[in-house]
């Protein structure tokens, strides 16, 4: 079993295809491992092991018949609970959706199911993806397999904790301001925020619609490229999804980075409360990239420092509207005994939402309300333009931009919950990417000399330039060799 659970998903797919191992054996291994680690990491909100094993049996039958659904038919997966799943409770980490059983599947889920990926279950997250630690989950926090007194990051913390602990070969998270990349970095994994519009948002419970993107969480870059390839492509059910067929992100991934120009921002990254240990690992990573044939170019992105301010107006504003539907009328929690509709709705929402969600709804409602729109929401939209322009200008001289994913390594549970603003600062390097709609990946670059916890390197690419991003990340990962070494596995 040990051999199986640490194998990259792409290799598991090959092993199942060649008959070396059955889909049921693979799935059973992850079911067992999930069960063994769940007490320590609290990754799951719903376990669907029985259904997963039944799907694995079907995959084995397809293989026997010579009709596998995809190269990964029978390789199991799990989803952040923000993706709706037909017939399986989907809460987005909120008590207000405690009883909600969707009548339909998200496009990402539908496409992965069609590819034959058995679903192990639904994973913990900050409520409605609002947070950077999973401590805002309505169902208690998940824990980091590298140190269970620490957070796994967030909001896709359940999805990263599970993969890091070997409970699943890959999972889907979502990234609105860093919610895939930051927890991936804190758990020593690969996390991708694809170009906005590359993956359909249909069936993703919305947080901030103009920023939300689904993203793969894996142990290797190739796995991330493979998983993204299964779900990417136009979807007539999402108007903001870029039309077009699927792309093969594995093609050309081994071609190396000789001649690639990579932008760095030394001034910015040292000025944002970045931990020295994070900084030193990331700087080593730059040198490694250089050694691999890339040219480092200093770039200036003056608008980046306004990213957080803009993000924490835009995202709550959209969220305040997206979350208005949780009113106790058609589904989810309803407060009992209310005499009229206004009391019913207000009490339902007061009871059903956690503190952070209420805070952001209040903030967003305020930012949109009469008299403040221009000063807050309007200005933030213009900052968004500036950030996009700055990045576009940078891409004239570089192919990718590198920086730390998170200014810090995994922090202790409870250490930042008292100060919402301190928590928001985790997103300083990730948020501008969502505002511009660009692609980015977080790839592990070893552990911090300060605390022995994983550090992530972020590579940012222009929209739809995922191939270059994957190519660089893969070259770096292979040269570092960390993920395939014993050091690349958490002590859990």
């Amino acid at each position: 079993m040990d051999e199986l659970i640490w194998k990259p998903a792409v290799e598991l797919g090959e092993a199942v295809r060649s008959g070396e191992v059955s889909a049921v054996e693979v799935t059973q291994a992850f079911v067992d491992r999930s069960e063994a680690v769940e007490g320590a990491i609290s990754a799951y909100l719903q376990v669907t092991a029985d259904a997963a094993l039944a799907e694995a049996e079907a995959a084995d039958r397809r293989r026997a018949a010579g009709e596998p659904s995809s190269p990964y038919d029978g390789v199991p997966i799990a989803y952040k609970d923000l993706f709706v799943t037909k017939g399986v409770r989907s809460t987005s980490g909120s008590k207000i959706l405690d009883s909600f059983v969707p009548p339909y599947d998200a496009t990402v889920v539908e496409r992965c199911s069609r590819a034959g990926l058995p679903m192990l279950g639904k994973l913990n997250m900050d409520e409605f993806a609002m947070g950077s630690s999973t401590e805002n989950s309505g169902y208690g926090p998940s824990r980091n397999p590298w140190d269970t007194n620490r957070v796994p990051g967030g909001s896709s913390g359940g999805s990263t904790a599970l993969v890091a602990a070997g409970g699943a070969p890959w999972t889907w998270g979502t990234d609105t301001g860093g919610s895939v990349r930051q927890p991936a970095a804190l758990c020593g994994l690969v996390g991708v925020k694809p170009t906005y519009g590359l993956v359909s948002r249909y069936g993703m419970i919305a947080f901030a619609s103009s920023l939300d993107q689904a993203g793969p969480i894996t142990r290797t870059v190739k796995d991330a490229a493979a998983l993204l390839g299964l779900a990417a492509g136009g979807d007539p059910r999402d108007s903001t999804c870029i039309p077009g067929g699927r792309a093969d992100f594995l093609a050309g991934i081994e071609e190396g980075i000789d001649g690639l120009r990579i932008g760095i921002m030394p001034e910015l990254e040292s000025g944002e409360g970045t931990q020295p240990g994070v900084l030193s690992r990331v700087q080593e990573a730059y040198q490694r990239l250089e050694k691999l044939g890339a040219t480092l170019v200093e770039v200036s992105l003056p608008s980046f420092e306004y990213g957080l301010s803009a993000y924490y107006l835009l995202a709550p504003a959209e969220a305040s509207s997206n979350l208005a539907r949780y009113d106790g009328v058609r589904y989810g929690h309803r407060a009992s005994g209310a005499e009229d509709i206004v009391r019913m709705t207000s009490t339902t929402r007061e009871e059903g939402f956690g503190d952070e969600v209420k805070r952001r709804i209040m903030l967003g409602t305020y930012a949109l309300s009469a008299g403040y729109y221009d000063a807050y929401y309007g200005k933030a939209q213009k900052v968004r333009t500036l950030i996009t322009r700055d990045l576009d200008r940078a891409y004239e001289t570089v192919d990718l931009i590198a920086c730390p994913t998170s200014p810090t390594t995994a922090f202790e549970l409870g250490s930042r919950t008292a100060d919402p603003l301190a928590m928001y600062l985790s997103d300083v390097f990730t948020v501008p990417v969502n505002l511009a709609g660009n692609a980015a990946i977080s790839v592990p670059c070893g552990t911090s000399p300060d605390d022995g916890l994983p550090v992530g390197l972020q590579l940012i690419a222009k929209s739809l330039d995922e191939p270059t991003m994957f190519r660089a990340a893969h070259a770096f990962e292979q040269d570092l060799g960390w993920i395939h070494s014993p050091e690349g596995r958490p002590p859990l």
Binding site: S99, V101, P103, Y196, G197, S210, P236, S239, T240, I242, P243, E305, Y306, L308, S309, A310, Y312, L313, S320, G328, V329, R330, Y331, G332, R334, D340, I341, V342, R343, M344, T345, S346, T347, R349, E350, K358, R359, I361, M362, L363, T365, Y366, S369, A375, Y376, K379, A380, Q381, K382, V383, R384, T385, L386, T388, P420, L421, Y424, L435, G437, S463
Partner: protein
């Protein structure tokens, strides 16, 4: 720009959140603090900068006018807290106070 209690009450009513007194006080302080951070962008001269509301350049996304199957009433009502005669029951409707 500090937020006063009246603003918190107004926004809570717009957002339909029946916050407790303690929560309102906490919210007042936290929102003030967060918005102070946002003051950073208040100082920028952005008059000549157009707003961005979408980062995709897609235009005219549409679907043909074709009927597709609806959910069954059972599926529609399965998640409803209260149902009567195939309709979803809600308490007396009043306007915002």
């Amino acid at each position: 720009m500090p937020i006063d209690r009246a603003a918190v009450d107004h926004v809570a009513r717009l957002a339909r959140l029946d916050l407790t007194d303690d929560e309102r006080e906490r919210m007042r302080a936290e929102l003030t603090h967060i918005l102070e951070h946002a003051e950073k962008i208040q100082a920028l001269d952005l008059d000549a900068v157009p707003p961005t509301s979408h980062s995709v350049s897609i235009r005219n996304a549409m679907r043909p006018d074709e009927v597709t199957p609806s959910l069954s009433p059972e599926e529609v009502l399965a998640n409803a807290p209260e149902v009567e005669d195939g309709r979803i029951k809600v308490p007396r409707i009043i306007e915002d106070a």
